[in-house]
Amino acid sequence: MKTKWAVVTVLAAGGITAALPAHAQVSYKDMADALHAVMESDRTVYTRMVVNRLANQDKVIKASEHFKDDKALPLPAQMFRFGAEMVAEKKLPFSYSLQSMWPINKQNAPKTALEKKGLDAVAKDNTKPFYGEETLGKTKYFTAIYADKAVAPACVTCHNEHKDSPKTDFKIGQTMGGVVLRIPMK
């Protein structure tokens, strides 16, 4: 797993940039953990300090899946997905997505065998990430899966009340899904 990864990669997630020295060598696992730390922090900040505060506590604006049409805030999951899409456009050597065994959008259900195993593992124990390797297409990936927990009442109410949600009894602190992060292996 400790593989040479000559890092000239810039961590561009969430607007935080951390350039590592060119000679540094970072394991796939450490790189994945670092990337996820940025993603998780930004998303938690958005969920608690923007969506939950303004939509649920102060009730000054709504958060909506159709935020443009409804002139509302994007949902935290959408904010996360838009970031993932922007990273994908940059063609950097990693990709990530938010998935769940109880997805509102069926496209976000686990597809690969490793995703299913990983999401199951983090649902059972959300204190430890799941790591593995898989080959998709012709590329071998280091895949890390992190538990995605309900961090605010907004997460729970929205998922429990959504017409397309297959699970309607989420509670705060519970695992709702997982962040799947992939780095192509050299």
């Binding site: 899409e85 456009e89 998709l136 590329t139 992939r182």
Partner: protein, 480 residues
Amino acid sequence: MATPAKRKIFWICWGLLSVAIGGYLSAGLLLKSAASNPLLSPARAMLLPGKTSHGHYQIELACESCHTSAFGGRDVVQASCERCHAQELKDAVDKHPSSKFTDPRNAELAEKLDATLCVTCHVEHRPEITHGMGVTLAGDFCFHCHQDIAKDRPSHAGMAFDTCNSAGCHKFHDNRALYEDFLAKHLDEPSLLGRASLPARNFRELAADFPGYPADRFPLKPQSTTDAPAHLMKSQDVAADWLATAHARSGVNCSGCHQAEKNGAKHWVERPDHKVCAVCHEPESKGFLAGKHGMRLAEGLTHMTPRLARQPMHAKASDTELGCTTCHGAHRFDTRKAAVEACAGCHRDEHTAAYERSPHYALWKKELAGEAPPGSGVSCATCHLPRTEYRAPGLDVQRVLVQHNQNDNLRPNEKMIRPVCMNCHGLGFAIDALADRRLVTGNFAGKPGAHIKSLEMTAQRARAVEEKRRQRKAAAAQKQ
């Protein structure tokens, strides 16, 4: 038998002719200016590998517009596609962005349909396999990824996969008017909403606040006298036309458009082009250059003329060069004329010919006669050059301006539903009307002959979801 001398002359002539033809074709291929050169453009046309689609035929001789490098392969062409189309796809909240196909978890699906490249589905120069929207795949392409849709949506069981995109229910890229929650919001709307009027344009009110508006040159104060040199004022009609315009009311005098500066010296320009209009009307000009009327100019070619069009056009207008003043009329800038007469002056297709028999035209006539309020008539421009909301970058105010890129909502025609049809009509009626080809050709004189069931399906599903919720709540209450 030819003598050796005659044979020699023959071979010399043959050689010279071959070199001349080769040189002519090479010049056509290699010289960028060949696309606009009447002598060399036929050489380019001979080298086209096949007829281009309706979207690109106007610029098909500007090979360099898409093939920016001879050796870049598909990536180079993709960059060209994105140069013109990336923003509109973003604005349309593209349901199938390339990130969906670069996602490693979709690698298996992407092997079947690599939609990271536009040319996977839209191959140019292949008329024999080109369908509507310039699609060159078989019509059931949704099957590749959505073959098990009936598991998630039992109502879709048994539906043929070539109907997903063609039955008025879904579109590959733009579903802004067709997504389920939007349909659910607009169930049971009447065919006429009873608020038939267009948003009013508001440039005059907001011009001073717009970034880049040259308020120093055009102080937004009414003008009463022309400032053109007296010897150039050949007719007082021009002055009278100008005095009646918003230009005169907004401080845009003759010199505003006709006076240019080069190397510090001012000179008079007899026929200002679209670049002059763009000084104040930048978004409109951008739209014009992106649309069918201006795309040739945008690619460095000569003006579009009706002679170059594939659609039926009036012969008398064949050589009319399309610029801003072609439709708006220099000095008079009559937007009402630009909205109907200008279009009908060139276009000769069935849809245009049927306009005068349509209820839309009856409304337009009433508005022109002052019998109905402004914005209640429906002109050609109402639908094809619609008024849209526009927010300049970094500006808080929102402008209502005319989208001069008619490609923006032309195909698929469901793109018209929200910005155009729903100003006056209910969603269900709009979906049905646009799905009825006969009705579209006849310019909406009559009622839709087709009915799209997506609204009923949405309502049915909403009822099922509500029932499930009710049962869940009842079960929870029982537990307590």
